[in-house]
């Protein structure tokens, strides 16, 4: 089946490529998935499109390693979750994907990071351009101290996008499931909104510039459960258009929303002076949570260690 056909299928769940030749999720009773590919089909032309390919990515701040030797692939139209205990470098890792680490002078990134096959850290690459295509939502909602309308319109205006601004704003707010709540209050200051609304506003703001990928760094950790639920539902809708990478310290959230999960652990060096993170396992979410390959993963997801 060609990829285009796959995309026009009226599936509620995307196709997944089983990694490592495992049997498909179809065996799991709660999720019915149509698997299109043979196990171990790397190199198959109908292979799922990769958004990011990380090869031995390591990040260090001023010589102190934060995350080491990450080699994973992130796929299009999936929600990819990064989980792990605090200090394991999940945030650092996700920030390499849109070059936000550039803002830290002492940060250095080694390894290869391909975005749709292009080296994201190539010599001619402009980080500003990168961030237009790869958007980010932060842990603590950070709306601008302006009106709802101005918050959303800032991106398109600054990037000189074409189209009627009113339409762009409305579309972004609808897409973020916020339109009905704010349509009569577009000129109100964003700071007057609740935390959950502010975060959806930030998501809408990100959507307004029409990115390709949305990165979310613990987007719900500052929110109440109801707002969290709304945003999780939103994620499931958005992945039809975008590709999403989410960092979360909430395992159940990862299990709920993601298609693929990467589990990172902290490593210490010999004399416990420095610590960094490393990928332990990266696989289908179902597999990570029900039948992980690595005992450390098992310990973490079953709550034995945190």
């Amino acid at each position: 089946m060609s990829e285009v056909d796959a995309m026009t299928q009226d599936d509620s769940k995307p196709e997944t490529e089983p990694v490592g030749g495992e049997s498909p999720r179809a065996e799991h009773p709660t999720i019915a998935v149509k698997t299109q590919f043979q196990p171990g089909s790397a190199g198959d032309a109908s292979e799922k499109e990769k958004v990011f390919e990380l090869k031995d990515i390591s990040v260090a701040y001023g010589g102190n390693p934060a995350v080491k030797d990450v080699s994973i692939d992130v796929y299009k139209h999936e929600v990819t979750a990064l989980i792990g205990p605090s200090g394991c470098g999940k945030s650092t890792l996700i920030r390499t994907l849109n070059r936000m680490n550039d803002l830290v002078p002492s940060a250095s990134v080694t390894g290869e990071l391909l975005y749709h096959g292009e080296d994201l850290y190539g010599p001619t690459v402009d980080p500003v351009q990168v961030r237009k295509l790869i958007g980010m939502v932060f842990q603590k909602p950070n709306p601008f101290p302006k009106s709802v309308y101005e918050n959303i319109a800032f991106g398109p205006k600054t990037l000189k996008m074409e189209g009627e601004m009113d339409e762009i704003v409305e579309r972004a707010l609808r897409r973020a499931a916020l339109w009905d709540e704010v349509k009569d209050r577009l000129d109100d200051n964003a700071f007057g909104m609740s935390g959950g609304q502010q975060q959806r506003l930030c998501i809408a703001r990100c959507l307004a510039v029409a990115p390709d990928v949305i990165l979310m760094d613990e987007p719900c950790s500052a929110l109440d459960p109801i707002s969290t639920g709304k945003i999780e539902d939103l994620m499931m809708e958005l992945k039809e258009e975008f590709s999403i990478v989410i960092v979360t310290h909430n395992m159940q959230q990862a299990a709920r929303v993601s298609d693929r999960t990467a589990f990172l652990m902290v490593e210490l060096d010999a004399d416990e002076q420095s610590r960094w993170g490393r990928i332990v396992e990266y696989d289908d979410t179902q597999k990570i949570f029900t039948n992980p390959s690595d005992p450390r993963t098992e310990d973490y997801v079953s709550g034995k260690v945190g």
Binding site: D126, V130, R171, E240
Partner: protein, 324 residues
């Protein structure tokens, strides 16, 4: 990325290379960077200009007047014939006024600071601090006038006879008092900042032992805030050294060759700043010996305040280090 649920095949872009290079060379950003850097660099330019404006005439000055005669001599009268170039009288004049200013300002300023930091409730602080700001904002010509028409007559009135003759129209006492009043806000607010920064835990420990406020203030808070307090005093000294209008109006313009007599509060003196102000009027000729003398004196003044400032930075850094 339209807001439809499905993406028709025709709308899917062929998998093309994403454009990651900059859309435009963005020269504007570079221009802005250099413009802003120039604004910041102006400060360096200003310092350089000040230094050059002082050094060049000073060097020429020392070509004509031996440096030791200048720095160690007590015969000051550059505009007289024959001219005297010993600068010590006016240096001592400045030092004297500064000293008397401190005699007034340190107890008053520190007292106000301790009161604000340890005793005053929030309502009192809300009234008192703005009042101190008002005091800080009063133009120096107003202080000078106050010294001349209020302080001087009052001093003359209450001057006890056993202290000898009372001060005349111009006196160190009047000038010193006025400068002292002017620098009280500097000492008070910087010291108060420093004392407020002392962690509450230190105070509470002492109070828990039953100590009185006085003890806590003097034996716990004051020593802990010491470097900030010293910084405030140094800043105040620097300000007093450079003060022109008050000394000009109230302390007189007659240099006193007897160096120690400069410190006598009833005496009139000439401060360095007063000399500069009266001599550097618009018609002073560039390159004349008078011109060079003015700048040589300004050089001495500049070096004195610079030394004070660098010293105070050291102390401020020490007290900031601990809490930040």
């Amino acid at each position: 990325m339209e807001s439809s649920g499905h993406i028709a095949a025709s709308q899917v872009p062929a998998i093309t290379r994403p454009r990651l290079e900059a859309a435009s060379p963005r020269y504007g950003e570079k221009v802005i960077y250099w413009l802003l850097a120039a604004c910041a660099g102006l400060s360096v330019l200003t310092t350089t200009a000040i230094v050059i404006s002082l050094i060049v005439p000073s060097i020429e000055f020392f070509g004509e007047v031996p440096i030791f005669e200048f720095l160690l001599g007590t015969d000051w009268g550059p505009t007289f014939t024959p001219p005297g170039f010993g600068v010590l009288p006016i240096v001592f004049g400045t030092l004297s006024v500064t000293l008397w200013a401190l005699v007034f300002a340190i107890p008053v300023g520190l007292g106000a600071a301790i009161y604000l930091s340890e005793y005053a409730g929030p309502r009192v602080r809300r009234i008192l601090k703005p009042i101190l700001e008002v005091l800080a904002g009063i133009p120096t010509v107003a202080f000078g006038f106050f010294a001349l028409v209020f302080i001087t007559p009052q001093i003359q009135k209450i001057w006890p006879s056993f202290l000898g003759s009372e001060p005349g129209i111009f006196s160190v006492a009047a000038g010193g008092l006025a400068i002292g009043l002017m620098i009280v806000p500097i000492i008070a607010s910087v010291s108060e900042d420093s004392m407020s920064a002392v962690p509450a835990g230190l105070r509470e420990g002492a109070y828990a032992l039953g100590a009185t406020k006085a003890r806590v203030a003097t034996k716990v808070v004051f020593p802990a805030a010491l470097s900030g307090i010293v910084a405030s005093i140094i800043l105040a000294v620097s300000r007093a050294l450079g003060e022109t209008m008050i000394v000009l109006i109230a302390a007189g313009n007659t240099p006193n060759e007897n160096l120690l007599e400069n410190f006598n509060p009833v005496e009139a003196i000439q401060a360095m700043t007063a000399f500069i102000a009266t001599t550097a009027t618009g018609d002073i000729a560039t390159g004349s010996i008078t011109y060079k003398t003015v700048f040589a004196v300004a050089m001495v003044l500049f070096l004195m305040t610079l030394a004070m400032n660098l010293l105070s930075i050291r102390f401020v850094r020490k007290y900031r280090e601990v809490y930040e």
